[in-house]
Subunit: 485 residues, 2 copies
C-alpha cells in the first residue's frame, strides 16, 4: 500500500498527459466534416479532470519511486488508461457495452488490434483516428517498458534486452534514467513514424488514412479504418510500404541508436536477433508462397508471393493487418503464421510474443543439455552473439516461458468452458497473448471478436494485458511476497 501511495501522483500525471493526447482525434474532428467532435471534447475533459483531481488529492505524498514500484505502475497504467480510452467510443456509440469498449481500448493500447466493431468505414474519421492513435501511444509505452523499465526489474530474462547503448545504470536515480532512455527511443520512433506516414501518402493513401495506418503499423497494432483492413486499398505499393515498416518496427529500436551513432547499417546485421528475424521472415514468406502455389491457391508465383509476403509478415510481426482471408488457405499456412507470431519479433520492438532472443536463449540452453548428455562433465557456457548468458537469466526466461504456456492453456480452457469452439478458443488466446489480433475460426481475419460473450471478452482482455506486460510484471503482484515488507 506504501507503493500505491507513491504511485498515485505519477498515475495522475500520466492520466493528464493521456487527456492531452486526445487532442489528436479532436483536431481531425475539427478539420473534417465529422460528428465526433463533442465526444472527444467531453472525453478529454473528463480524463483531464479525473487526472487533476487525483493529483491534487495525492500530490502531498510524492516521494522518490523505487524499482519495485515499477510492477504496480505498469499494471495500473495499462488497466486505468484503457478505462478512459473507452470514453470517445462510449460517448459516440451509446449501444456499445463497457466490456466491449474496454476490450477495444485495451486492444489498442496493448497494440493487439483485435476489434469488436464492424462497419468501421461508417464511423467518423476522428473515432477511427482515436482507435489507431491509441496503438501509437501503446507502442511508445511498450518501448519504454521493455527497454527502460523491465530490465531494471529483472523480469523474465529481460536483463538481456538492455542494449549496448544503455550503459551502466547502478548509481543513477530511476526517474531521470528512464526519462533519458525514453527520449532517445521516441526520437527514433517518431522519425520512423513520420517516414511511414509520408510513404503511405506517397503510395496513394489519403492524409487521414496514411496517419491512421501509420499509427497501427508503427505500434504493430493492426487496427484499420476499414472492415476489409488493407484489402480495402488493393494496392501493391501500399502493401510494400506496410511490409517494410512492419519489419522495421519488429526489430529492437535500440539498434537504431547505434545505426545513427555509427552512421552505418552494420549494427542491424551484426545483431544476432535482428539477423535471425530477417532470415526467419524471408524463409517463412518463401515457404508459404511456394506452398500456396503448389496447392493452386494462386495461379502464379508473383501473386502467391504478394499475398504470402503481406500475410506472413503481418501475422508473424504480430501486426494483424489482412489483405485476403488467409483463413481460407490450406490450414498449414495460417497455423504456421500464428506459430511464428509467438516468438518471431525482437525484444525492444513494439511486437508481442515471447521474442526471438528468449527463444534463442532457450534453444541454446537445450542444446547445451543435449551435449551434456554425451559429455556429462563438460563445462558448457551458454553464449548469445558472443555474450555469456548467466544461469539466472536462463532461469528467468524459463519461468517466463512456463508461465506463458500455463496462461495459454488456462485461458483456452476458460474459453472452451464458456462454450467457444476449439479452433476459435485456442487461436483467440494465441492472438491475444501475443498481441497479434486476428486468430482463426470465429475470430479469424474475416471475422472479429464481436460475437464473443462478455465472459469470453474479459478472458481475451486479460490475456492481452498479461501478454503485453510480459506476464511476470503483472503476476508478481499476486504473490504474497510482493506485498510483504
Amino acid at each position: 500500500m506504501q507503493s500505491l501511495r507513491r504511485l498515485l501522483p505519477v498515475l495522475a500525471v500520466v492520466l493528464m498527459v493521456f487527456a492531452g493526447t486526445m487532442v489528436v482525434p479532436l483536431l481531425f474532428a475539427l478539420l473534417g466534416p465529422d460528428d465526433g467532435l463533442l465526444d472527444h471534447v467531453q472525453a478529454m475533459a473528463i480524463t483531464f479532470i479525473c487526472g487533476l483531481a487525483l493529483f491534487i488529492a495525492t500530490r502531498s505524498r510524492r516521494s522518490e519511486l523505487q524499482p519495485r514500484d515499477g510492477f504496480l505502475l505498469v499494471t495500473l497504467v495499462w488497466t486505468v488508461l484503457p478505462a478512459f480510452g473507452t470514453l470517445p467510443l462510449l460517448l459516440h456509440l451509446p449501444d456499445l457495452s463497457f466490456t466491449d469498449a474496454y476490450f477495444e481500448a485495451v486492444s489498442g493500447l496493448t497494440t493487439t488490434g483485435a476489434t469488436v466493431l464492424t462497419g468501421l468505414e461508417k464511423l467518423p474519421t476522428s473515432i477511427n483516428v482515436w482507435r489507431c492513435f491509441m496503438v501509437l501511444i501503446g507502442g511508445m509505452g511498450i518501448l519504454v517498458l521493455v527497454v527502460a523499465i523491465l530490465p531494471l526489474l529483472g523480469v523474465g530474462g529481460s536483463q538481456l534486452f538492455r542494449a549496448e547503448s544503455a550503459g551502466p545504470m547502478k548509481d543513477q536515480k530511476l526517474t531521470p534514467r528512464i526519462a533519458e532512455t525514453a527520449r532517445g527511443l521516441w526520437t527514433v520512433y517518431f522519425t520512423l513514424a513520420l517516414a511511414c506516414f509520408l510513404a503511405y501518402r506517397w503510395a496513394g493513401m489519403g492524409w487521414a488514412d496514411a496517419f491512421m495506418h501509420m499509427c497501427s503499423t508503427m505500434g504493430l497494432g493492426g487496427f484499420a479504418a476499414y472492415d476489409a483492413s488493407f484489402g480495402a486499398f488493393d494496392s501493391v505499393a501500399i502493401e510494400v510500404v506496410a511490409i517494410v515498416f512492419m519489419l522495421l518496427a519488429g526489430i529492437n529500436f535500440a539498434l537504431y541508436f547505434l545505426v545513427l551513432k555509427r552512421r552505418s547499417l552494420k549494427p542491424l546485421w551484426s545483431d544476432i536477433e535482428a539477423r535471425s528475424f530477417f532470415a526467419l521472415m524471408a524463409g517463412s514468406v518463401l515457404l508459404v508462397a511456394l506452398f500456396l502455389l503448389a496447392h493452386g491457391v494462386y495461379p502464379d508465383f508473383a501473386t502467391a508471393l504478394r499475398h504470402a509476403a503481406f500475410s506472413v509478415v503481418s501475422v508473424a510481426t504480430t501486426t494483424g493487418f489482412a489483405t485476403v482471408d488467409y483463413a481460407q488457405w490450406p490450414m498449414f499456412a495460417p497455423v504456421l503464421m500464428l506459430f511464428l507470431c509467438g516468438f518471431a519479433t525482437c525484444a525492444g520492438s513494439t511486437g508481442g510474443g515471447i521474442k526471438l532472443i528468449r527463444s534463442l536463449v532457450m534453444l541454446k540452453a537445450a542444446k547445451r543439455d543435449m551435449t551434456r548428455i554425451v559429455h556429462p562433465r563438460a563445462v558448457l557456457p551458454v553464449k548469445i552473439g558472443g555474450t555469456l548468458v548467466s544461469n539466472q537469466v536462463i532461469f528467468s526466461v524459463l519461468a517466463f516461458m512456463l508461465i506463458y504456456g500455463s496462461v495459454m492453456v488456462l485461458a483456452t480452457l476458460l474459453l472452451l468452458f464458456s462454450g467457444l469452439d476449439i479452433v476459435s478458443s485456442f487461436t483467440a488466446v494465441v492472438a491475444c497473448i501475443n498481441n497479434t489480433g486476428p486468430g482463426l475460426g470465429q475470430v479469424g481475419p474475416s471475422g472479429n471478436y464481436q460475437g464473443l460473450s462478455d465472459f469470453q471478452t474479459w478472458v481475451c482482455t486479460i490475456t492481452m494485458l498479461l501478454g503485453r506486460l510480459e506476464l511476470l510484471s503483472v503476476l508478481v503482484l499476486f504473490t504474497p511476497q510482493f506485498w510483504r515488507t
Copy 2:
C-alpha cells in the same frame, strides 16, 4: 560404430527372447478355434532365426556395454522389435500395408494403443492377444528403461526418478545392476497383472478378454478386442476394475517395493508425486462430472460421474480406453482430458507424457523466479518433497520440455502440411507423443488412425517412438558429439 558392434549381440538376444514371447498368442491359437495358428508359428520362426543369425554373426565381438551404449540400444530395440512384431499381422492380413502394420506394432510396444484396424471382433482371438500382449511387453520394457537405464544416462531430469530403493550404483557394472532392478520391477508388475486379470474375470469378462484387457491396462496401452472398446462390455463392475488398475499402473512402480518392504501403504501417500497424481485425478473427475451434469449431457450425477470417471482416468493416465464417444461432449471436457494426459502420470509408471515430477520441478523453478523478482538477492533452493533439486536437473528438465514442445509443433505442422485438418493434426500429435492413443476429430475415440495417408502414419509412428523413449535418448543420436570419440 564401435557402439553398434558391442550392441548387435545384445539386440540378437533381445530378438530371440521376443520370438519366445510369441508363444503366448500361439497358445491362444492352439486352445480355441482360431485360424491364426500358422501365422504365429511362422512369425515366431522368422523372428527367432533372424535373432539367432544375428547372434552367430556378431557374438565374437561381445564386450562389456558402456553407459552411452544405452541410447543406441533403446532406440534399436524400439524400432527393430516392432518390425518383427508386424509379422503375425502381415501374415494374417495380406491387405495390410507394412506402414500400417508397423504403426500398429509401434503403437503396441510403446503402449500408445492407437489402431489402424477396424472390425477387431472379427479377427482371430490370437491376433488380438498378440496386439495386446505387445502392450504388456512394452510396459515391461518401459519400466526398465525409465527406472534402470535412463537415470544412468542422465536424460531429461530422469536422475530424479531414481527411487529410494535403488541405492548407490557407482561401483557396479551396468548389466547386473539393470538386471537386478528389472527383476524387482517385474515381480511387482506381474503380481499386479495377475490381480488385474482375476479382477476382470471376476467382474464378468471371459478368460481371453480378461487376459487381453489386463495386458492393455497394465501397460496403460488402450488396445481393445472390440471396435467399441470398453463400451462393448457396458458393465459398471468392469469399468471400476479398469479405473482402479489404470490408477495403480499410473504411479511409480518403485513405490510398490517400499510398500512391500515396509508392509504399509504409507509410501504411496508420502510420495509427493503419487499424492499429486491422486489429487489431480479426483479433482478432474469431479470437475468433468459436474460440467457434464451442468450441460445436461447426462440426466443425473451418478451417470455423469460414471462416464467422467472412466473417460478422464482413461485419457489422463494415457490409456485411451473408451466407453462413450467423449468427443461428442462439449469441447472443454475432452480438451481438458487431453491436456491432462500430457503430464498427469508419474515417472516410473507405464504411462506417457512429461510426467508429474517434471511438471513439479518446472513449477517450483518458475515459482522461485517469481520470488527472485521481488527478492533479487535471496538464495532460493528448489526442493521437491524435501529433496534438493540441482540446477543441472532443472536444466535437463527444461531441455526436455523445450524439445517436447518443439517436436509437437513440428509434427503438427507436418500433419497440417500433408492436408489433415487442424483439430485432428494437433490432437493426433498430443495423443501420439504422450502415448495416449485416441485424439479428437478424425482420430477421436469413435474413429481411428486408419484414414491417414502413409506420410501421416509415419509422422505419428515417429512421434510415438520419440515420446516413449523420452525424446532425448533418441535425439542425442543425431548430434555429431555422440558419434565423435
